[in-house]
Symmetry: C2
Subunit: 434 residues, 2 copies
């Protein structure tokens, strides 16, 4: 059913169970006459959608401007084909009032449901009276849904609050200190996180900003990170994007369509959980690492050395001695400390994580060097069997370590998806009825 049809139906039938259908989309609102015109939001939105012939359905994940379904057994933004841009924010909780925190999560869920569908946070153009602040900050008006996904996570420190100690999953361990770690406290940790991914950066920034606004007084942003470009691909057969060292990275990543591998490596299953963390079934665990890349040093390194470090050739991305990127690598042909040789599942008892990282360039450091690198995001079924053993090995041996440094770190439990219009982020953890 299209937006327009949903609105018409809702108008003729009275309030429908789905309150989303009768609200105008961001696109439709653009046609508003604005000052001095007294059209109602629904009528104007509906008329505009019909006049332009545009169709803001929420189902078309294939359309670059389309909307990704918010509801499901798992949260969107994990197996979803990677979007072009990222705005990631870690929050600290400021309230001691559990009911207030729960209400905020419900408000966040309602806002996320609307924004991922390309709608404003509130009803009407800005959802309020002229005398009140707008319900939506407005900078995404006129922009497409842009495949926005919003994914929430809960950090270890959250479980020290609200009497949640005995709900902390065993798999949500604090990350150990790895060799070479040089973590900046102001880029590390967080009680909550929101990963916003979209094909338009303004849509991702708008989403984080509006959630922060809704959370004002209850939570505060601890740190945030913007990212661009895809550093991995969950779409099979597509070109693997290049990282800022100029190499293809993520060739053997898990694609969102690989149900079996997702089940095996990414989603928490019923069998994984006990009484304390049954609420995590259908969820996942996220490790976020800000990895600074010393691009100036790298750029003065010979091509041979660069290819030895990765264990691939730079142009095609083929493993050493092979012709094509997707050819099966022969690990023993690579140098012992080559990145691919060390990180390959065959060299790690099959360890596989779903990588979803983004490149970042945050201007320049005080020494005239680009403050650039990879914001590494990896989803897995159990951090103890995913990132930790892999990074223990890489941090000790990887030839890449000469050119990179981990400067930020966080780990989050990613709860299961929001099932329907009555469900909310964190219900399985925080509902008194659960």
């Amino acid at each position: 059913m299209t937006e327009t049809q949903a609105q018409s139906q809702s108008q003729s039938e009275g309030d429908s169970p789905s309150e989303q259908g009768r609200r105008p989309s961001r696109r439709a609102l653009i046609g508003w006459g604005g000052a001095g015109l007294a059209l109602g939001a629904v009528a104007a939105g509906g008329a505009m959608a019909m006049a332009t012939g545009e169709d803001d359905t929420e189902a078309s994940g294939a359309d670059a401007g389309g909307a990704v379904e918010f509801h499901g057994a798992h949260q969107a933004g994990i197996a979803t084909p990677v979007q072009d841009r990222l705005h990631f924010a870690a929050f600290d909780v400021k309230t001691d009032d559990r009911a207030e925190f729960v209400q905020m999560l419900k408000d966040w869920t309602a806002a996320a449901r609307r924004m991922t569908a390309g709608k404003t946070v509130g009803e009407g153009a800005y959802g309020g009276l002229a005398e009140a602040p707008p319900d939506d900050t407005g900078e995404a008006l006129g922009l497409k849904p842009s495949r926005l996904t919003l994914t929430i996570g809960f950090g270890p420190s959250l479980f020290e609050k609200f009497g949640l100690t005995d709900k902390r999953p065993a798999a949500l361990v604090d990350l150990p200190k790895f060799p070479g770690d040089n973590l900046d406290r102001t880029r590390t940790g967080g009680d909550l996180c929101i990963q916003a991914c979209a094909d338009d950066p303004q849509v991702a920034v708008h989403a984080i900003r509006n959630l922060a606004r809704i959370g004002f007084g209850k939570v505060a942003i601890r740190w945030s990170q913007l990212g661009f470009g895809k550093t991995s691909s969950t779409t099979p057969g597509s070109q693997t994007p290049r990282n800022l060292f100029g190499f293809k990275d993520g060739t053997r990543n898990i694609a969102g369509t690989e149900t079996d591998r997702l089940k095996k490596f990414v989603w928490v299953g019923d069998g994984d959980t006990g009484a304390k963390d049954a609420w995590m079934s259908g969820g996942s665990y996220l490790v976020a690492r800000r990895i600074r890349m010393n691009v100036e040093t790298w750029d003065r390194t010979s091509l041979q050395e660069q290819e030895d470090v990765f264990g691939r050739d730079k142009g095609e991305g083929a493993p050493v001695g092979k012709a094509k990127e997707h050819d099966e690598p022969f690990l023993k042909a690579m140098k012992p400390d080559a990145h691919v040789r060390l990180a390959h599942p065959d060299a790690n008892g099959g360890i596989t994580i779903l990588r979803r990282g983004y490149s970042f360039t945050d201007g320049t450091d005080g020494l005239g060097r680009l403050d650039a690198g990879l914001f590494f995001l990896a989803y897995q079924r159990d951090v103890r069997k995913g990132f930790i053993p892999l990074q223990r090995k890489l941090s000790a041996h990887d030839a890449l370590n000469e050119y990179i440094q981990h400067v930020g770190s966080a780990v989050f439990a990613i709860p299961p998806g929001v099932r329907d219009a009555n469900d909310w982020w964190g219900r399985t953890l925080l509902s008194e009825e659960a």
Copy 2:
């Protein structure tokens, strides 16, 4: 002539006068067999272009993935329809050797000519031997030209070097301190600037990084800025994008097709220059200001107040009392300190500047607030008759000042365009033959 045709012709005729034609493009190179394959760069590039049927012509500015012509009477990136992303860098000169500086400008020009055409900086895949660092950092391999433009500017401080004192244009004045300025020295000034604009951020970042690499030892980045979203539009009739306050901004900007207004307000004419700055004919002047927007404060302001501050309604962007964005504003209907009323040319003796700014979000400040705002870029024929009188007025009276702060500032002389394959950035200023 297409890339493929150029290559074929060049191969059959021997070296052609245009050395660009026989070099493979970024796209063509992607098909390389890589390790172990001994195909020559030209043959492989040509074969790939033919095999895919892709056509990397440089003329198609209308295609979002296309290339913008680098050569011309004026530099590209000013009247060019605004691209989606920005990477702007200010450099300080580190060498005292004029010949070395001139050679760097020539090397930069050659690299810019190739990168804007979607090619690697060097020949072949990375333009070097395995034993040497690659000539290109590689992260833009496989990406389209993405309408990349590279625009160079010379700051006032450059003219204190290399015996250029008597070539400093009268119009290149140091900006005065305006009321409310809170400039961060680390985001202010610079001997040189490069504005890189592209529809893909990785292409813009790649360009700045490679110019910095080529300039290593001769120049160093003083500060840099990434931007996203269009805050102004030089394409007539298109939707005016919204700034981070949620308002349409740049409604009445100069479009790249308005030859008369460009001549009147943007391009330095022969009649503007004297003996000392004849080298600037065909150029322009750029003012860059990092404007922090206090979005959290703004977001708690009523819709009425927000609309009063701008003098427009938020939804449509119509001036106070009007119905449509492009309706002629009736300035007296607005509050005396409304932004549009103060900034409108009719209230400023016709002052008009070409705005080309971008939104930025650089994470979070130490207080949990978004470090976000507008990186304002304005081109004009004479700073003394453009930005300075306008900003004197706005900084003293604009209602917006309660919500913004200017925290970075720079001004640059933008030399005329590079005419042809033998010309180079800065020739009219620095050539001994001039």
